[in-house]
């Protein structure tokens, strides 16, 4: 039996308290009205001329697409080619004028409608001067909404990421049952403990979704009836994207996952006590059924909870991409918690070969994530269709470091470190790689949500880290409490002897 060490319990509580402080600070420091925003913008001399106008057209496109005119579209197209031409993939300051200059300087970089776009730009610039006062007001309004969204986004990303880790472990657990893997039953209790977080984490997440649904925040722009009224694209999707259906779906997904988790855990414990193999068969069947349900529900969950923050954008492999991201995080978490328990002397039957296997999974799924990340990116980059490429354009311009940094953390680092067989058996190397992978995938979720909700007003500060700390603390508390409730060896499992003597 495991006993929850008081040190770790204190750590969890400290993380939760600090996290709550960070979250509270985030909400406290968010501007209350547009005058606050004026002050912030005035203090940030940069804001007016550089990032803000550039972000204006962009973010408008993301958040309030109703105000999307032909001319703005042309500006965007020009900026697009100019940004590429001027090598400025990251040049945030791709202001219209600059774009214009680059345009003239490098005509060969442009396709046929160069002159047309040129005329359009001049036209837009003229209109820009006239409507400047109006635009400023609109801009302030816009930044105000973004800044108000920031603490909510921070909370949402933290809750989502930590919840999805335990969901990833649940999927991994189900696969181990369904595949009748011989190496992993020794780790079943660790996995079951991690998935205990599904229940509280899922409830918190559902509450956050309900809060969005009753318009406490503006994370999901399609939930705003005013926006929908002016937006034909969202209107066309409102058969799927409407609050009641959204919440019903969320309830079904969460309910299904919690049901599977509770059922298999119960059977797994009963298997220990009775040694009655019918429980094993029940879990085998439940896992196979769950995996079918999971495949569908996970995909829809990713459209609902993540992709719908950008209701104008869609990607067909998004579900897989999100899955790979939290699946590898889940496996990494299993490895980290197993290493911790092993170092405390609790898992006598777990040896280097088990770690080796987990590290191989971390390595392989990291590469799988990269494959999906790149496939999604490259297809959109290559075709460069304006309605889908804005997703990446905005991220490359305003989230350059997190966007490419996460590829380094989630791909380059693991592939160089974990490719070595000997390294995959060394605890500190697995731990280091695991921490980098987890941070990288937090950034991944940050990059999925923040650009749509706060635009270029993002920052990883007190609110974001606080949210992460709070949910990590809660996670540690729930997981290690669950660990202390059952023996760490699933002795009734028919494959447990094989797992004990597993060596690679």
């Amino acid at each position: 039996m495991y006993t929850f060490s008081s040190k770790l319990k204190n750590l969890a509580i400290i993380l939760m308290v600090l996290g709550l402080l960070g979250i509270g600070y985030g909400f406290f420091s968010a501007p209350k009205n547009t005058e606050d925003v004026e002050k912030i913008l005035a203090a940030d001399a940069h804001g007016e001329h550089h990032a803000a106008p550039a972000a204006h057209g962009e973010a408008k496109h993301e958040a309030t697409p109703a105000a999307h005119t032909e001319a703005e579209h042309a500006v965007e197209a020009v900026k697009d080619s100019a940004a590429v031409a001027a090598h400025g993939l990251d040049s945030v300051a791709a202001h219209v004028e600059e774009a214009h200059v680059a345009e003239v300087a490098k005509p060969e970089a442009h396709e046929a409608p160069a002159t047309e776009a040129h005329a359009e730009v001049a036209h837009v610039e003229a209109a820009h001067g006239e409507a400047h006062a109006d635009e400023h007001k609109e801009h302030v309004e816009h930044v105000f909404h973004q800044l108000q969204n920031k603490p909510w986004s921070a909370l949402y990303v933290g809750a989502l990421f930590i919840f999805l880790i335990s969901l990833g472990v649940l999927a991994f657990y189900a696969i181990q049952w369904a595949a009748q893997a011989g190496w992993s039953p020794g780790l079943f209790r660790v996995m079951e403990a991690i998935t205990a977080y599904i229940v509280p984490g899922g409830i918190i997440l559902f509450v956050l979704l309900v809060l969005s649904g009753v318009h406490i925040n503006h994370l999901f722009v399609w939930m705003d009836p005013e926006v929908v009224a002016k937006d034909h694209l969202i209107q066309g999707k409102s058969g799927y994207l409407n609050v009641p259906f959204f919440l019903i779906r969320a309830a079904i997904f969460l309910g299904g996952w919690m049901l599977y988790r509770t059922y298999t855990r119960k059977n797994s414990l009963a298997l220990d006590e009775t040694n009655d193999q019918t429980y094993y068969k029940k879990n085998f069947k439940a896992s196979a059924g769950f995996l079918a349900f999971f495949l569908v529900s996970e995909s829809m969950m990713s459209w609902d909870w993540i992709m719908s923050v950008d209701p104008h954008w869609f990607s067909t492999l998004f579900g897989w991409y999100v899955f790979a991201s939290f699946f590898v995080s889940g496996i990494t978490t299993i490895a980290l918690i197993t290493l911790y328990l092993k170092s405390k002397g609790y898992l006598e039957h777990i040896n280097n070969s088990h770690f080796h296997d987990l590290a191989k999974f971390m390595f392989g799924i990291s590469v799988f994530w990269t494959y999906l990340w790149f496939s999604q990116f490259m297809l959109m980059w290559y075709a460069n269709i304006p309605e889908e490429v804005t997703y990446y354009k905005f991220r490359i311009e305003h989230y350059n470091l997190p966007f490419f940094g996460m590829v380094v953390m989630n791909f380059v680092f693991p592939i160089l470190i974990l490719i070595n067989t000997d390294f995959k058996r060394v605890p500190w190397i697995i731990t280091m790689a695991g921490i980098i992978i987890l941070s990288g995938h937090y950034l991944d979720f940050h990059n999925m949500i923040f650009p749509a909700t706060v635009g270029d007003q993002w920052f990883i500060g007190a609110a974001e880290l606080g949210s992460l700390a709070f949910f990590a603390g809660l996670f540690i508390f729930v997981v290690f409490t669950a660990l202390s409730k059952a023996p760490l060896l699933a002795k009734g499992n028919p494959l447990i002897e094989e797992s004990k003597h597993f060596h690679y």
Binding site: A85, E108, A109
Partner: protein
């Protein structure tokens, strides 16, 4: 110069493994073991050094990646930077995503093929090579251990008999 070796034949891989361990313990030099299929753990029992072919493959992969980058940069960016469908050909990095499929495949191609060729060279395998099989049964259902003789022929023969060999014979090797 010719020297003598002893061929000890076994018909079970477990017996063979035990025999190998005993022989090593008795400090007799095992020249070679012939088996019809891979016997798990035999290399460890014989004390063979681990293979370094994975390291070689990694370096071949790096070579392939470098080759692909050089090739694409030379053709698409340096030599004739055409505008093909509006793809930016001003620098390698700008058009990099389009090159990744080739970079990946070249890496795998070099790593795989050069590793296989390395394996053939290191194990001295090629078409028309004369088979070095001391006893045809070793490709079917027998295991053969070849031990060097150093003026201890009778002692070694009886030792190998005791390890469960079904047949022990002294062979003159050229």
């Amino acid at each position: 110069m010719s020297h003598k070796v002893i061929h000890a034949l076994y018909n079970d891989d477990d017996v063979l493994m035990d025999a190998v361990k005993q022989t090593r313990k008795a400090h007799h030099h095992i020249e070679e073991v012939y088996t019809p299929f891979p016997v798990h753990g035999l290399d460890k029992a014989m004390g063979l050094a681990p293979t370094r072919i994975a390291i070689a493959a990694f370096m071949y992969g790096c070579t392939g990646l470098s080759f692909a980058i050089w090739l694409l940069n030379n053709i698409m960016i340096q030599d004739w930077p055409q505008d093909i469908g509006g793809k930016p050909s001003f620098s390698y990095l700008q058009n990099m995503p389009a090159f990744v499929p080739v970079m990946f495949e070249e890496t795998v191609f070099f790593a795989a093929h050069l590793m296989v060729i390395t394996f053939y060279m290191r194990s001295k395998l090629w078409p028309f090579k004369k088979a070095e099989n001391p006893d045809v049964r070793t490709t079917d259902d027998h295991f053969l251990m070849e031990v060097a003789v150093n003026n201890n022929e009778s002692e070694l023969t009886s030792f190998l008999q005791s390890t469960g060999a079904v047949e022990v014979k002294v062979v003159e090797k050229h």
